[in-house]
Amino acid sequence: MTNRILFILMLVAGLTAPFFAYPVFVMDLLCFALFACAFNLLLGYAGLLSFGHAAFFGGAAYITGYVTKEWGFSPLLGILAGTGFTLVLGSIFGFLAIRRQGIYFAMVTLALAQIIYFLALQMPFTGGENGLQGIPRGELFGFIDLNNSLAMYYFVFAIFLIGFGIIYRTIYSPFGVVLEAIRENESRALSLGYDVDRFKLLAFIISATVAGLAGATKAIVFQFAALTNAHWQTSGEVILMTLVGGLGTVFGPVVGAITVGALSHELSSFGSWVQVILGTIFVVCVMVFRRGIVGEIQRLATRKKD
């Protein structure tokens, strides 16, 4: 019930947003929100902390940028190519990472992501530190010009809804329930006969793919694949967004992405102090605010009911 109300709220806000906010900024937030939702599936529901999700977010952007710029792919095909790339990459990383548990899982994903970062820095087609520039927005279905910012916006919003829908369906499917069981007690889930590794791998692949979808879309929006998007700090940022919004809540990552995104935007004139402030928020969240915004609201709501 609450989910339905929140969803309608999100839909209305999303549809009207470009009329009272700068569309490119809202598109940026939407991409990060989708990225955070994908990340949340893994940490919030399967209990797996990936410290390397920037590899998917940033990697997809490069592939999408390259195929639309050099091979003349349409934006939709380009995004599909970028997303498909992360599907494969996510399968490989996931297969390797689930061989270790807990804290090691985080370190393995971080190290694997660093390979992608160095490739993005060194490969001939990526533009090194400058990133891949001049990606065309092109035309959707051959007749909708995406250089129009409203058309671009609703395209991005549609992609966001699709990605959000995939994550939502996964969370509330029997598959999602088994994931939660694994998070709560892995050995028990195993002894109940679930193939724990297969569930973890599939969750990792879904999460990586949706993160890639978000990154691919961002490349089209900004016409630019940035090296920073593949950097470990981006992996940290998405963790922060999820944590601030509410770990393991459906709408938390969206709220968190908007909060952190708006905050970084407002504070951008402070230079490096932004990092200090974000770090402080990180510490405060971990110490005293582990439920996050949506988590706290939910707790208050259920308490009232009792």
Partner: protein, 298 residues
């Protein structure tokens, strides 16, 4: 390719390897007792380098005191300061998280990393500031018979090796060390025998932090001091730790040294892969020996 070039790169690789060894040793010691991975380990290494730099070059300019803290004094003072920061972090923050999932410890130390890194980025250039305080006695080059090698780098190698093996000896072969190992094995029982386990935990964390600070001081004269120097290094050290497994102190030291050496040699034979070779080795280890070379399967 001449043998000299290979030997020179091998020695330079060993030079990097001792830093991997010292940092992964600190991580392993902390992990053993606290079961958390200290993401801020890299930031503490950076902090060590900056404290040495500030003590040497900026005290008068910033604080108006006309004192200059030289390299040797830094080598003693800075690890103590960084260790003190470790005590504060453990006492006031980490301690409250032990009951929770260990990932919260990682996330907390990640936040601390951002704070430290951001602070120094405000005052220092990301591309690095040189540390001018290298002592006179260690400047110049040394004739090793087959090649000339910078005296300071040689000193750094020998000094780090001594520190690493002293730590190993302390933990594996002294009475205090055996108590520490008992605390790792079974904290509750150790506490029941009358040992102050919480104090041991605090001091262990401080020791690991101090070790990172010490590595930072050692690195300062060799690499330019930059706010990002720790972050780039620590991720490689994570891979080193995954490869070695954190089960044993000696394992952490040896894998650090070996991987530095391999990285150095990669620079000779295929330079573009030098920055990623350790990560690819990690992939191989995960495929064929998931628990790590020295790790125990749990």
């Amino acid at each position: 390719m001449s043998i000299q070039v290979i030997l020179a790169q091998a020695l330079l690789g060993l030079n990097v390897g001792v830093f991997y060894a010292m940092l992964s040793l600190g991580l392993a010691v902390i992990f053993g007792l606290l079961n958390i991975i200290n993401f801020a380990h890299g930031a503490m290494y950076m902090l060590g380098a900056f404290l040495a730099l500030i003590g040497y070059s900026f005290l008068e300019q910033w604080f108006g005191v006309s004192v200059q803290i030289g390299f040797w004094a830094s080598l003693v003072l800075v690890p103590l300061l960084v260790g003190l920061l470790g005590v504060l972090i453990e006492r006031f923050l980490l301690r409250r998280l032990y009951e929770l999932d260990h990932i919260y410890g990682l996330l907390l130390t990640f936040g601390i990393t951002l704070i430290l890194q951001g602070l120094f980025s405000n005052y220092f250039n990301v591309s690095g500031t040189p540390y001018p305080g290298q002592p006179e006695s260690l400047s110049g080059v040394m004739n090793l018979g087959f090649m000339y090698f910078p005296t300071y780098r040689l000193f750094a190698i020998v000094f780090s090796l001594v520190v690493c093996f002293a730590t190993w000896f302390f933990i594996e072969h002294t009475k205090l060390g055996s108590r520490l190992r008992a605390g790792v094995e079974n904290p509750d029982l150790t506490q029941a025998f009358g040992l102050n386990v919480p104090l041991m935990i605090t001091l262990t964390f401080a020791f690991g932090a101090g070790l990172a600070g010490l590595a930072g001081v050692l690195a300062a004269p060799m690499y330019s001091v930059s706010p990002l120097m720790g972050a780039d290094l620590i991720i490689v050290v994570f891979a080193v730790v995954v490869i070695g497994g954190m089960g044993s102190i000696m394992g952490a030291i040896l894998s650090g040294l070996a991987l530095g050496l391999i990285e150095g040699l990669t620079k000779v034979f295929y330079p573009p892969a030098a920055s990623t070779v350790i990560f690819f080795l990690m992939v191989l280890v995960l495929l064929f020996r998931p628990a790590g070379l020295f790790g125990k399967e749990k």
